[in-house]
């Protein structure tokens, strides 16, 4: 154990000053956030795109029987469209914001050298994150629709699955960082990893806010005259084409007389 006062602490692994390593790692974290941001944007674009198109009236099909995703869900709503309640999104988002605040606080404490309190705050952040994960799972399992109930259901479920993955990553990071604070590996002289985790969780919180925002602001599709699947727009002023078979709906009666075959000869 070297107990000499070293003006520029160096990383034990590479032998460079920790500030240099930290600056590099922070940049890496920012780039990883860019990647994750683009992925999240892909989901949000999908949500908004499907919301605006409402192809074949499939955004939240009216009159369809929404079935619960899990068996312990509420009774399916039989009439009209059914959307997920807003408040769970915002409650969960709030919980993530609390986790984020706790993480930053823990980082501040570490910088001040308050190791024991920092560990305790980190542990609190873990507890909140795990609670959020449970709440998120509860929300998914009580949604009034399943994955196959139209594109709204699909888009919400994939956003929430993204949330689950994000929360799992957060919990892993928090476990690691708190353990390391406890062991003294993250200390006043080298608190950077704690900062990185805080930065990452800040982004996660933003992702949650984005998700909650789109799900609570874009509900009923603005397109109330959607394109029919496999059919033609009613733009032609000509007589509409003969009944096109719609594979999902009830069989349309054939206009022409048909020789119905006798099943048994």
């Amino acid at each position: 154990m070297s107990d000499t006062v070293n003006p520029a602490p160096v990383s034990p692994t590479t032998g460079e000053p920790v500030q240099v390593v930290a600056a590099r790692n922070r940049l890496g974290i920012y780039f990883l956030i860019v990647i994750d941001f683009m992925g999240t944007m892909a989901l949000i674009i999908s949500y908004a795109y499907l919301w605006s198109l409402n192809v074949n009236n499939g955004w939240a099909p009216p009159g369809s029987q929404f079935t619960a995703f899990m068996s312990n869900g509420p009774a399916p709503s039989a009439t009209g469209t059914s959307f997920a309640a807003d408040w769970p999104f915002w409650v969960i988002t709030f919980a993530v914001l609390v986790t984020c605040a706790l993480t930053w606080w823990s980082y501040r404490l570490t910088r001040r050298g308050d190791q024991a309190v920092a560990t305790a705050v980190g542990a609190a952040a873990i507890v909140v994150a795990i609670a959020t994960l449970v709440a998120q799972w509860w929300q998914i399992s009580t949604l009034p629709f399943g994955a196959a109930n139209g594109t709204y259901a699909s888009a919400v479920l994939i956003l929430l699955s993204g949330n689950i993955v994000h929360l799992l990553v957060v919990i892993f990071l928090l476990l690691g960082i708190t353990n390391r604070v406890r062991m003294g590996l993250i200390s006043r002289s080298n608190p950077w990893q704690s900062q990185f985790v805080s930065i990452w969780i800040t982004w996660i919180a933003i992702a949650f806010i984005l998700g909650a925002f789109v799900t609570s602001t874009m509900k009923v599709s603005p397109n109330d005259n959607p394109t029919r699947f496999g059919g033609f727009e009613p733009r032609t002023s000509q007589p509409s084409p003969a009944a096109s078979a719609s594979p999902s709906a009830s069989p349309s009666p054939s206009a022409s007389p048909s020789a119905s075959p006798s099943p048994s000869s």
């Binding site: 192809v55 496999g230 033609f232 727009e233 007589p239 084409p241 096109s244």
Partner: protein, 286 residues
């Protein structure tokens, strides 16, 4: 090398000594390599020139252009070829001359002799930038104008009530499905055919959709191409101006028999078309 910026110029002469532009051009052209490269450019350019017609010949092998749209397309292709030949010829000329004109060394060991350290050349870079920008600008303007013309010809964005009124347009509902095309004529009792019948000189308006996956309705010689999307109907149109038998191909991979998703277009004179429609079961016209 005291001050270094990215764009600094290495031309050593002070602006005051700079000869007049015409003088510098004369001096540049008098350099032996310059003249050689210019001649080479012209020669390569003339060698490439027939391409403009050969390309059209290849496109016309099966009877195109059979519509104003296809004529516009061929005009575009022709002029783009012409326009891009000088630049291509110049680059090729430099490539050729740098191998054959200036010295070359093919020893195994690194050459001892160094080439002139030209770090930049303001005139050259500015000329290149201007020329390529002008070319790009030309392409954009030409493309915009042609696109607008084609759109007008295909009635793509014109509201239904403003479409060509001098003659009732023929409406054809095109359905792609794995792996056949069917054409339905709502104006003729909804007669349906596996072969596309069109009337010469009569505007036709296509509603295109798909029963399953994405197909692409390509009426080759008519220059019509639009995706047949499931869950959406796309519109396009054309006025066939040439009677004959042409091709419909599927230009989007659509599964097992994608290659076989072809059919023919028969562009018929007015009376023959009416007769054909009657035969298909579409007795009364709209």
């Amino acid at each position: 090398m005291a001050h270094q910026t990215l764009f600094d110029s290495d031309e050593p002469e002070a602006p005051t000594n700079r000869p007049a532009a015409t003088g510098r051009i004369r001096e540049w052209v008098s350099r032996p390599y310059a003249r050689a490269i210019l001649i080479l450019t012209v020669v390569i350019g003339f060698v490439l020139l027939p391409l403009a017609w050969l390309i059209l010949a290849a496109m016309n092998q099966t009877g195109a252009p059979a519509s104003p749209i296809m004529e516009e397309i061929e005009k575009t292709v022709f002029w783009f070829t012409i326009v891009s030949i000088p630049m291509t010829a110049f680059v090729f000329a430099v490539l050729v001359y740098s191998l054959l004109g200036w010295k070359r060394i093919s020893s195994d060991d690194p050459p001892m002799q160094e080439s002139p350290a030209i770090r930049t050349n303001r005139t050259g870079t500015i000329m290149w930038t201007v020329v390529s920008s002008v070319l790009a600008f030309f392409l954009v303007v030409w493309g915009m104008i042609e696109l607008a013309a084609i759109t007008a010809n295909s009635y793509g964005t014109i509201p239904a009530d403003q479409q060509p009124g001098d003659e009732q347009p023929l409406i054809v509902n095109v359905t792609g499905q794995q792996w056949v095309w069917t054409f339905e004529y709502p104006g003729y009792d909804g007669a349906t055919t596996p072969v596309l019948y069109l009337e010469k000189d009569r505007p036709v308006y296509f509603n295109v959709t798909s029963k399953d996956v994405i197909h692409n309705f390509w009426a080759v010689e008519l220059g019509v191409k639009i995706d047949a999307n499931p869950g959406a109907a796309t519109q396009t149109g054309v006025t066939p101006t040439k009677a004959g038998v042409f091709n419909v191909r599927c230009a989007e991979l659509c599964g097992l028999h994608h290659a076989y998703m072809e059919t023919t277009i028969e562009v018929l004179p007015k009376e023959v078309f009416a007769a054909a429609m009657r035969e298909m079961g579409g007795g009364k016209t709209s």
